[in-house]
Amino acid sequence: MLNNVPDDPPPFLGSWRRIYIVVVVYLCAFIGLLALFTRSFRP
């Protein structure tokens, strides 16, 4: 039995969906930077 605990919006960006999208974009950017870093200093 689940209690009625409110699901408040996040303190920024207005919705959790937007925050999740930002995190996914961040991950893609991080992987991209890692690729650049690895390629730049590859032997």
């Binding site: 039995m1 689940l2 209690n3 009625n4 605990v5 409110p6 699901d7 408040d8 919006p9 996040p10 303190p11 959790w16 925050i19 999740y20 995190v23 996914v24 961040y26 991950l27 991080f30 992987i31 890692l34 690729a35 870093f37 690895t38 730049s40 200093f41 590859r42 032997p43």
Partner: protein, 540 residues
């Protein structure tokens, strides 16, 4: 360790523990003791989650791994942000609304008591094994480096952890984790900056980075795929995501962190902070190891970093010859750095060959501490030691606290004492916390025989995590699966992992995927022959 180092270490530990106990001074109910009254802010939970996951061996061993093998290990965390999103979307609101104390308590609401009990016992076995290792593993390294008896280090860490975890409950654990994480990051940054600062004046930071790159230490991203290769983009994203889902979504030592949140939003923020911060933190740890590698290109390191193993090498008949070859290869490498990459790599290969020929066991766990104890200025050594103690204690306290919680809520209260008063459960929680803490100290005391068991413990984790995750996937997403189907599916998942282990040579990371998918598939199939029965109202 000099006097200043001891002062820094002791003051850090006293301050952290004192602060944690002060913040937990008003604990008087079971909900306050086990879940901080569900009042924690996101930033406290966020750093506690991070500190719980970053053990002392992560700190010591990861830097050594980057020294020896480069930064590939970072890829294991690539799936973590995706896992945090999924947990924020599903587990967090479900657990909050169910008002559970443990993740496994929810399984009885969804399935039945036997599923809850099975998963609880699996957790107790898995985490119980891990608690002794978490305490012993850093102790053996400190023993070798400083000559401190390992029982002394385990006793000091164990007693401190039992003290503040038993007295203060999860509030003390969370607020000490918060402080400990700050200390860990300061210690790590101090070590990195010192490694860079101690390079010869003619070697710029960019030179150092390029050198690490030539030596293959900056291999942070590997895009070629292999089932047996543990660290590449694909195993990291997929296998790493499943591992993170299992660890942060189903392991009570992590779940309990965010069950203390004052709201669903606060718990989500704590997880999403980790989604963003964990990768740069791991990058920093590994990059520190890479810079220590470059440092030792310009300052000659010992042939073997493990002092005990080095003594054995010195007693070999060919010891002088090995040392001479090593000295020559090191000088050749230093002469070639920045001038002749081919000669540099050849010299590096010669160094690796000589080290392998010594027959010494893997010394990666001793590289970072050797650097710290020999080259960091007074005070900073104490700070890094404080970081290592902090990393160990933050992990162990969370494990002991979660073991006690599951013992009280899922086993003791559910099966043996269903109608006792809240004060009774509060004291039971304190008793179980103390018992599990003492157990961890004793288990660490058998550490010498744990040598190969450390690897076995890692395997146990890999064996069980996938099935735990599969159980929760069924619980959250597959409503047609009933209690009996879920219970048998968990067992089928375990059978699948064991079968894969003995028949197919794949990286451990994939076991989580195999276990989870096997449980889901088995659960779906069994749901057609084992119909779902209405769930009774649970006793808790």
């Amino acid at each position: 360790m000099r006097l200043l180092d001891w002062i820094v270490l002791v003051v850090s530990l006293v301050f952290v523990i004192g602060y944690g106990l002060w913040r937990s001074r008003s604990t008087s109910t079971t909900e306050q003791y086990l879940l901080a009254g569900r009042e924690m802010p996101w930033y406290a939970m966020a750093l506690s989650i991070m500190a719980t996951q970053a053990s002392a061996i992560t700190f010591i061993s990861t830097t050594g791994q980057a020294y020896a093998d480069g930064m590939r290990f970072l890829q294991m965390y690539l799936g973590l942000p995706l896992a945090m999103i999924l947990i924020s979307m599903t587990a967090v609101p479900i657990f909050h609304r169910a008002r559970v104390y443990t993740a496994y308590e929810y399984l009885e609401q969804r399935f039945d008591v036997k599923t809850r009990t099975l998963v609880s016992i699996v957790f107790l076995i898995q985490r119980g094994l891990g608690a002794g290792v978490a305490l012993y593993a850093p102790a053996i390294v400190l023993t070798v480096i400083f000559g401190w008896p390992d029982y002394m280090t385990t006793a000091i860490m164990g007693v401190l952890v039992v003290l503040y975890t038993t007295l203060g409950g999860i509030r003390a654990v969370t607020w000490t984790d918060f402080q400990q994480m700050i200390i860990m990051m300061i210690g790590l940054v101090a070590a990195l900056l010192t490694a860079i600062w101690l390079m010869p004046p003619e070697v710029s930071f960019l030179d150092a980075v390029k050198t690490a790159g030539v030596a293959g230490r900056l291999n942070a991203l590997v895009t070629t795929f292999s089932w047996s290769d543990q660290y590449n983009l694909f195993s990291g994203l997929i296998g790493g995501m499943f591992l993170s889902l299992a660890y942060f979504g189903c392991d009570q030592s992590q779940v309990q962190r965010y069950l203390t949140g004052r709201s669903i939003a606060q718990s989500r923020l704590s997880l999403l902070f980790n989604a963003v911060a964990k990768l740069p933190m791991q990058f920093l740890i590994l990059f520190t190891g890479a810079m220590v590698f470059v440092f030792y290109i310009h300052v000659q390191p010992p042939l073997i970093f493990h002092p005990g193993e080095m003594k054995k090498v010195e007693q070999r008949a060919d010891a002088a010859q090995l040392q001479q070859r090593y000295d020559q290869a090191w000088k050749a490498r230093r002469a070639a750095v920045g001038r002749d990459d081919a000669a540099f790599l050849q010299a590096q290969s010669d160094i690796d060959t000589v080290r392998k020929q010594t027959g010494a066991t893997n010394d990666t766990n001793f590289i970072f501490l050797t650097f710290v104890t020999h080259y960091l200025p007074a005070g900073l050594v104490g700070l890094v030691m404080a970081s290592i103690f902090a990393a160990a204690m933050s992990t162990i306290s969370a494990e002991v606290n979660s073991l006690a919680t599951v013992s009280v809520i899922d086993i003791y209260k559910r099966h043996f004492a269903q109608n006792a008063s809240d004060n009774h459960y509060l004291w039971a929680s304190r008793a179980f916390t103390a018992l599990w803490g003492v157990y961890a100290v004793f288990a660490a005391g058998f550490g010498r025989s744990l040598g190969s068991l450390i690897e076995a413990v890692n395997m146990v984790g890999s064996f069980f995590y996938g099935s735990l995750l599969g159980a929760f996937i069924l619980a959250f997403y597959v409503p047609r699966v009933g209690a009996n189907a879920a219970f048998l599916a968990i067992l089928a998942g375990e059978a699948a992992v064991v079968t894969v282990h003995f028949t197919w040579k794949i990286s451990f990371l994939w076991y989580n995927v195999v276990g989870a998918l096997a449980v889901v598939a088995a659960g779906l199939l069994l749901s057609f022959v084992l119909p779902k029965t209405p769930t009774a109202t649970p006793a808790t």
